[in-house]
Symmetry: C2
Subunit: 126 residues, 2 copies
């Protein structure tokens, strides 16, 4: 069981951001019953997993609410199994689309590089 400082250290995500994510409903910690002198919140390793997932998903352009959908489908049992599967399938389609877009960009940029490199050669060969 980890405190927020620990989460931040392990993921590199600022404490303020972690609190913001928790407020946004992406995950939650709990106070320990045995501790009565404070209201410190403890997090289990599942939260680390979720934070790492959030990092990845954000890096590829998913919004927090999109990420929340996946996490809910993932960990919460409140929605029906078929609904969970549907959410995940939709997300897989989006991911494939993004991969294709990235591949297209890669091709485009590589081509552009070749053009630049060639024009160098040409101008240098003059």
């Amino acid at each position: 069981m980890k405190l927020i400082h620990q989460l931040s250290k392990e993921t590199g995500i600022p404490i303020g951001t972690i609190r913001f994510y928790e407020k946004s409903g992406l995950f939650s910690g709990k106070p320990k019953k045995e501790v009565t002198t404070n209201n410190y919140v403890y997090y289990d390793d599942e939260v680390i997993e979720k934070l790492r997932f959030i990092q990845m998903a954000k890096a590829v352009g998913f919004t927090l609410s999109e990420i929340k959908e996946v996490i809910d489908a993932w960990y919460q049992r409140q929605i029906s199994t078929s609904a969970q599967i549907e959410v995940l399938n939709r997300k897989l389609i989006q991911i494939d689309k993004k991969i294709n877009e990235l591949k297209a960009m890669k091709k485009q940029i590589t081509l552009c590089k070749v053009n630049i490199e060639n024009s160098v050669t040409v101008s240098e060969s003059v």
Copy 2:
């Protein structure tokens, strides 16, 4: 040579957004010299290319300023060739990173799906 309405129609990007992109320096149109009765701005097909690139890049999580970097390296000859190549190489690395992240997410989500589907089978087989 196209007017802004045409750009919007061809790309699906709202006119307001296109104006915002232009103000952000992602591209620019020009008034036609032969037209003196108005100050309408005309755009060539390069702008369409750029808009499509912006759409893709945004979809995979690049910011407008990151996109601007690429477009500048791409079309502007004001920076040195080696600097252009460097920008594009950096972007290619970022793209590969994103692709890997997407693949990791895909794996994770697929695994999660299998788990859900199995637990269904189990509960149904009881």
